[in-house]
């Protein structure tokens, strides 16, 4: 039989498709329905996700995801990262900060129902050390030993007062060793469990991993065997990879419940149906002036450094950065133990800058400011900050040539210590002031500023005292003294702690910014 007209052919084709659909039977791809008890929470986040395997993960999105999937021995409560609290275990620390005894408490279970034992703890921590992944450095010099079925002892050769804070990092989440070993997990570089851990979770956190697509979406579902205190309100959580401008429209339009990457400007005018939680983040944007005379005789001159510090208009920088941003009082962020008070911040002083510049002998030679052109940190674009600094210093008589480059290429110059002036940021590896000892002579960031060991004996002495540990009060005063000296004569200029703006539907409760894992998904509730 021939179909004579085009219309007849189309009609027959449509009928065939319809019949085929009926024959195959139509099901639903939807996870929620009017009769379903599923509550889905949608979170928008600009992904920097590389893996969900905690022992290899060290990116902000991964921290948030793994915080929901895995429990740690110690943890933080809410947004307070200055004090660790028990997680799966309680801690007993020796006076010399070299021995840490952790005892498992209660009857914690993995998502498959099996109990958490000291063997799981030893395997998990040894795996972090042994696979040589991004977070391996967290346990550098740490030896993990099982004492009995519920107790594990961590020892270090040198005082490590930061270790309790480090243990709260989701990268040190406790894995179900039997499950991970069954899927190729080892404590060496031969480990092959990452693929499994990117499709399944093997932890005891409030959620389990349902699906993971590094480019677009992570889906979590509630862990029925979770026996912690914060039972999740939402039974299903979808974390979507969405950029800032779209996040704003999504949270206003209702397709997202929480948006995590709004800039200071985007976080304004969102309407009454959206709540914005603004805090300074734990990132610190700073300038470094190279102290190596072979790189620059100008920036290695102490009077020139002083003049630059006094010429910068810090309040102007804060105002262009927008909601939530504050001036960084020192290299240690304001919410950490050891942070300086706002009264200790660097201050603009045009007259003093003029005098110091004259003393330095600077005669208007151009100085290069290198910066990563493609970094946007909490909505702040580095080129904007660099241009503003250039214009502020020009007003003070200092000529700056801007040298932007993509971060992937500029990192080399920064890490090799060849930049004359660099504009960078430091995100905390763990929320303890000892992470900031890198800003002293002979240490990682010090060397990037051409500041060799022994270049400033008085600052090194203060750094050694701060590294030794002690009570919280002692450490606070030691780090304050160190940072005051750094602000006074160091080659670093702490500029900003960019604002972290979290927008959420007003029906979502429990949104609290945490410097390590951004938000605790399990703590989010519903009005």
């Amino acid at each position: 039989m021939a179909f004579r007209s085009a219309k007849t052919r189309i009609a027959v084709g449509a009928a065939v498709v319809a019949v085929a659909l009926v024959i195959t039977g139509c099901s639903s791809g939807k996870t929620t329905g009017s009769n379903s008890a599923t509550k889905t929470l949608t979170i928008d986040k600009a992904f920097d996700l590389k893996t969900a395997d905690p022992s290899r993960m060290y990116e902000p999105t991964g921290e948030m995801v793994d915080k929901a999937l895995y429990e740690t021995l110690l943890t933080f409560k809410g947004g307070d990262v200055s004090k660790v609290v028990p997680g799966l275990a309680t801690l007993k620390e020796s006076a010399d900060a070299k021995t840490f005894t952790l005892t498992l408490t209660g009857t914690h279970k993995f998502s498959d129902g099996s109990p958490i034992t000291a063997n799981d703890v030893v395997f998990s921590l040894d795996r972090v050390i042994g696979i040589k992944g991004n977070p391996s450095f967290l346990l550098d010099g740490v030896t993990v030993t099982k004492k009995n079925a519920t107790t594990v002892v961590l020892t270090t050769k040198t005082a490590t007062p930061a270790l309790p804070s480090i243990l709260a990092n989701p990268a040190l989440g406790i894995l179900n060793s039997k499950v991970v070993k069954a899927h190729g997990g080892t404590t060496t570089t031969k480990d092959a469990a990452e693929k499994y851990l990117n499709t399944h979770s093997a932890g005891s956190g409030p959620y389990i991993l349902s699906s993971l697509d590094l480019a677009s979406q992570v889906t979590l579902v509630a862990n029925k065997n979770y026996d912690g205190t914060d039972k999740p309100t939402y039974t299903r959580v979808v974390i979507q990879n969405v950029e800032g401008p779209t996040q704003k429209i999504n949270v206003q339009g209702g397709s997202a419940d929480v948006a995590l990457d709004l800039s200071g400007t985007q976080a304004t005018g969102l309407g009454s149906a959206v709540t914005v939680t603004s805090n300074p983040s734990a990132n610190v944007i700073f300038l470094l002036l190279n102290q190596n005379p072979s790189i620059s005789k100008i920036t290695s001159n102490p009077d020139f450094i002083k003049a630059v510090k006094e010429s910068i208009d810090y309040s102007d920088l804060v105002s262009i950065a927008g909601t939530g941003t504050s001036q960084a009082p020192g290299v240690v962020p304001s919410m950490f133990l050891g942070a300086l008070k706002s009264s200790d911040e660097l201050k603009t002083d045009a007259a003093a800058a003029k005098a110091d510049l004259a003393k330095s002998g600077y005669a208007g030679q151009p100085v290069t400011l290198n910066f990563p052109s493609d970094i946007t940190l909490n909505g702040i674009e580095f080129p904007t900050i660099a241009q503003r600094i250039q214009s502020q210093l020009k007003a003070a008589g200092i000529t700056i040539n801007l040298a932007p480059a993509p971060v992937a290429t500029e990192l080399d110059a920064y890490r090799n210590g060849t930049e004359t002036i660099g504009l960078w940021y430091w995100g905390p590896d763990y929320p303890d002031p000892s992470d900031y000892l890198v800003f002293t002579p002979g240490n990682v960031v010090g060397l990037r500023a051409g500041w060799a060991a022994g270049a400033d004996a008085s600052i090194s002495k203060l750094a050694d005292a701060a590294a030794a540990g002690g009570s919280n009060a002692q450490r606070q005063s030691q780090f304050e003294a160190l940072q005051k000296a750094l602000n006074d004569s160091g080659p670093f200029i702490p500029l900003l702690q960019p604002g972290n703006n979290i927008a959420s539907k007003s029906t979502v409760t429990g949104v609290v910014y945490n410097a390590v894992w951004t938000i605790d998904i399990a703590a989010l509730g519903k009005k």
Binding site: L21, R56, Y58, K132, L214, A215, Q240, G253, R415, V444
Partner: protein, 361 residues
């Protein structure tokens, strides 16, 4: 029933020794395919050299700042990704692996690059195919109308509209359309390929609309279809501008040809003149532009993908480049190169079908 083929007389074969002379079109096609294979090898070399010329250390870009300071971790990373070998060895290893379909492992996602690309490509194809089909239909109609009504108001309006389509930045247009259609008018869905209430359909083709139909999930199909609306619209507006201008120019040239005037003088209906004479004559230059536009849609949708949270090739390319993920960059470069070559090959072969003179030449 009498079959035409059964009664057709087979022409006597002209034999040149043992080699039988092939049909001119077959020879033409074989020649083009061989050229394309050589070009693919050229693409791998150019991509490899350019990628390695970029200043910067992939180790520094891939590892965290503390991990990159640890010589053991760095050495392990270099060994794992073969970065500890000389560049020449790396290139030939890459070529060898390529012959086995192995594009290496991404230093960013830790997945095989071929798997990453297989996931990203359908997402881009889904919007690119939609955009090119709509663009060709609309562009040919508008371009022909503009040419036929040369110098009249409708021609001027269409030229301004097509120019606007070309000039408006796609990033801006995408954001504005998203704001208007999703947030203000509520007639478009949110970003992404599906609403968060839906699970992705079981992967067969990677095209969500097709896979949803194959899985018999009509609600997923309609949701996926609705999510295509805005990205396809934005890409179509740009491509329509391009095609309208080219079609107009091509049709204007043909309209002045003697054979078209003769057809009109014979009193043939306008529809027949347009379809059988004008558009057929204009098809070769238009086909070239359609091929280029489709290639450009496959490789140049990064900004649109960014606004609509579309996990396609553009997003993957950006991620690979910003992390100096050499296998990822190579994979994307190769894929785009091959896609362009494939599109050009198809266009060239279509030339041969549309215009026999091309084959002979």
């Amino acid at each position: 029933m009498t079959s035409n083929t059964a009664v057709r007389t087979v022409p006597e074969e002209k034999s040149t020794g043992t080699v039988r002379a092939a049909h001119p079109f077959v020879r033409y096609a074989v020649r083009r395919v061989i050229t394309s294979i050589l070009l693919v090898i050229g693409v791998t070399l150019v991509t490899f050299v350019l990628t390695n010329l970029v200043p910067g250390d992939p180790v520094a870009a891939a590892l965290g700042q503390r991990a990159a300071e640890d010589p053991t971790i760095v050495a392990h990373f270099r060994a794992e990704y073969g970065l500890d070998k000389p560049l020449v060895v790396q290139y030939f290893t890459y070529l060898g692996n390529l012959l086995h379909g192995n594009l290496g492992v991404s230093t960013t996602t830790h997945n095989e690059v071929s798997a990453d690309l297989a996931q990203a490509l359908p997402a881009t194809l889904e919007i690119a195919i939609g955009a090119i089909v709509l663009s060709v239909i609309i562009g040919v109609v508008l371009g022909t109308v503009a040419a036929y009504r040369r110098g009249k108001v409708s021609d001027h309006v269409l030229r301004v509209v097509s120019l606007a389509g070309l000039s408006v930045p796609t990033f801006w247009l995408a954001l504005v359309l998203y704001y208007v259609f999703y947030f203000k008018l509520h007639i478009a869905p949110g970003s992404g390929r599906l609403d968060s209430d839906f699970n992705a359909p079981h992967t067969v083709t990677g095209l969500y609309t097709v896979d949803a139909l194959l899985a018999g999930q009509l609600d997923t199909f309609f949701d996926a279809l609705s999510h295509l609306f805005l990205p396809v619209l934005v890409l179509t507006l740009y491509t329509v501008g391009l095609l309208t201008r080219f079609v107009r120019t091509a049709v204007l040239e043909i309209l002045d040809q003697d054979y078209v005037r003769a057809a009109r003088a014979k009193g043939l209906p306008t529809r027949t003149v347009i379809w059988s004479y004008v558009l057929r004559g204009a098809s070769i230059p238009v086909l070239t532009v359609v091929g280029l536009a489709f290639g450009s849609l496959l490789s140049g949708t990064v900004l649109v993908e960014s606004i609509f949270s579309w996990p396609g090739i553009g997003s993957y390319a950006y991620q690979a480049a910003s992390h100096l993920d050499l296998p990822g960059i190579m994979g994307v470069g190769l894929l785009i190169g091959v896609m362009y070559l494939l599109v050009n090959l198809i266009v060239d072969l279509l030339y041969g079908i549309l215009d026999p003179r091309v084959r002979i030449a």
